[in-house]
C-alpha cells in the first residue's frame, strides 16, 4: 500500500483544527457597560443615502451656478458637446459615489476595489477627455499657456467649492464604515464630488480650449480624489 500524500494528511490536519477548541473570553466590563447603555440605532440604507446625497448636491451646485452665473456663450456652443459633457460629468459623479456608498447585496463591506478603479478612471477620462474633445466656438475664451494658471485658479477654486458639499456629506454618511480599503473609497468620493465640480464649471466657465478643459476642469476631479484620499481615510476607518 502506498503512503498517503503529505498534502492530504495536511489537509485533514488543517480541517481537524478548524476554528474549534478555543474558548473565547466572556465580554469584558467595558464592552458590557457600553452595550448595556446603548439603544436603537438607525442603520444604513445605502440606496436612499445615495439618492438623498445626489439630490442635495445637485441642488447645491445649481444654487452655486445661479450665484456665479451661466457661461455667456452657452447658445453658441455645439449642443452635442454640451449634452455629452453633462452626461459624462453626471456619470462620473453618480457612478463614483454609487460604488463608494452602496455595497454588494448582502454585504456590509464596500466595493472598495471598484471604487478605486472608478476614481482612477474618472481622473484619466476627464483630464484626457478635456484635452482631446474640446469644442470649437468663435466666442469661446482661449487660455493661452501663460494665462492657464491665472485663469485656472478661479475655476479650480469654484470646482472644489462645489465638490466640498458632496464630499463632506458622503464622509459623514460613511463615518467608521471601512475597516479596509478606506483610502480607495475616499478617492472615489473625491473623484465623484470633483465630477460635480467639473459639471458646474461646464455650465459656468466660458473657456473651451483643450488645456483649460483637461488640466483645470479635469484637474478638479484629480485634486478632489487626491485631497479626499489624503484627508478622509482616518475618518472613514472603523
Amino acid at each position: 500500500l502506498s503512503e498517503p500524500r503529505p498534502g492530504s494528511q495536511l489537509d485533514r490536519a488543517l480541517g481537524s483544527i478548524g476554528t474549534n477548541g478555543e474558548i473565547p473570553p466572556v465580554p469584558g466590563p467595558e464592552l458590557t457597560a457600553i452595550v448595556a447603555e446603548s439603544g436603537r440605532v438607525r442603520t444604513r440604507r445605502p440606496a436612499h443615502e445615495l439618492a438623498a446625497l445626489t439630490a442635495l448636491s445637485l441642488l447645491y451646485a445649481a444654487g452655486l451656478l445661479m450665484a456665479l452665473g451661466l457661461r455667456e456663450n452657452t447658445p453658441l456652443m455645439p449642443l452635442w458637446w454640451m449634452v455629452a459633457y453633462t452626461v459624462a460629468w453626471l456619470a462620473g459623479f453618480v457612478g463614483s459615489l454609487y460604488l463608494a456608498l452602496v455595497p454588494r447585496r448582502g454585504a456590509v463591506l464596500p466595493r472598495w476595489r471598484w471604487a478605486g478603479i472608478a476614481a482612477t478612471v474618472a481622473c484619466l477620462v476627464f483630464t484626457t477627455g478635456g484635452l482631446l474633445f474640446a469644442a470649437e466656438s468663435p466666442s469661446a475664451l482661449a487660455s493661452l499657456p501663460g494665462n492657464l494658471f491665472r485663469n485656472g485658479r478661479g475655476c479650480l477654486g469654484f470646482g472644489l467649492l462645489t465638490a466640498l458639499v458632496p464630499a463632506v456629506l458622503a464622509a459623514l454618511l460613511l463615518r467608521r464604515a471601512f475597516p479596509v480599503g478606506s483610502r480607495w473609497v475616499a478617492a472615489a468620493i473625491g473623484a465623484g464630488s470633483g465630477s460635480l465640480g467639473g459639471m458646474m464649471l461646464h455650465f459656468h466657465c466660458p473657456a473651451s480650449d483643450p488645456l483649460h478643459l483637461g488640466l483645470v476642469h479635469g484637474g478638479v476631479v484629480v485634486a478632489g480624489a487626491l485631497l479626499c484620499a489624503l484627508a478622509l481615510p482616518h475618518f472613514l476607518r472603523s
Partner: protein, 190 residues
C-alpha cells in the same frame, strides 16, 4: 451559527436588544478569537483584541446594512484591530513573543471535544501544523488561517484583508505549498 441567525441577531442588536448582542457574541466570538489567536500567537493579546473588535463593532453598528452578513465585516474589523495593535507595538519596539500556540481541545480518544464526528487525529501532528503555520510570513499565515482554518472563501478573505482575490489566492497557495514542503521534508507520521 447560520448566516440567517447572524443577520437576525445583528438586526435585533441594532434595534437595542442587548440579549441579541450576548447571543451574537456567543455565536461568533469563537471563530473571531481563534482567528486573532492564530494571528498574534498570544492568548492575552487575542482576548484583548477580541474585546476591541466588539467595541469597534458597537461604535460602528450604525453603518450596518440590514440583511447583510455581519461576519465578514467583523473579520475585517478584527483584521484592522490586529494591524493597529502590531503597528503600535512596532512603534513601541515590542517584539512578538513566540509563545501561546493554540491548543486543540481533545477528549481521551484524541477527538476534538466538540467534533465527535471528526476523524481521530494525532495531537502531535496538529501541534506540528500549528507550529508550522506560526512560522509562515504574516500575509501567507493570515491567508491560510482565513481560508483553510476559518473557512472563508477566497473572495471573502480578500475583502477582509483588503486585497484582490487573485493576490489572496496566491498567498494562500504559497502558504499551503510551504506547509506541504515542510511536512514532506520531515515526513508525516499520522
Amino acid at each position: 451559527v447560520s448566516a440567517t441567525d447572524d443577520v437576525e441577531l445583528m438586526g435585533r442588536y441594532c434595534d437595542g436588544d442587548t440579549s441579541a448582542f450576548r447571543m451574537l457574541y456567543q455565536e461568533i466570538s469563537g471563530p473571531l478569537y481563534s482567528y486573532l489567536l492564530r494571528l498574534c500567537g498570544e492568548r492575552a493579546t487575542a482576548e484583548d483584541l477580541l474585546q476591541q473588535t466588539f467595541i469597534k463593532l458597537h461604535r460602528a453598528r450604525h453603518v450596518y446594512v440590514r440583511g447583510a452578513r455581519p461576519l465578514p465585516w467583523l473579520y475585517a474589523i478584527a483584521h484592522r484591530v490586529f494591524i493597529d495593535e502590531m503597528r503600535r507595538r512596532k512603534n513601541l519596539g515590542i517584539v512578538r513573543a513566540p509563545g501561546d500556540l493554540p491548543e486543540v481541545a481533545a477528549d481521551i480518544t484524541g477527538t476534538a471535544t466538540d467534533r465527535a464526528d471528526a476523524p481521530v487525529y494525532d495531537p502531535e501532528l496538529v501541534r506540528a501544523v500549528l507550529s508550522a503555520v506560526d512560522k509562515l510570513p504574516d500575509g501567507q499565515r493570515e491567508a491560510l488561517i482565513l481560508t483553510k482554518l476559518n473557512g472563508l472563501s477566497i473572495a471573502e478573505a480578500a475583502d477582509v484583508v483588503g486585497t484582490t482575490p487573485g493576490a489572496m489566492k496566491l498567498r494562500a497557495h504559497r502558504a499551503y505549498s510551504t506547509l506541504r514542503k515542510l511536512f514532506a521534508e520531515h515526513g508525516v507520521a499520522a
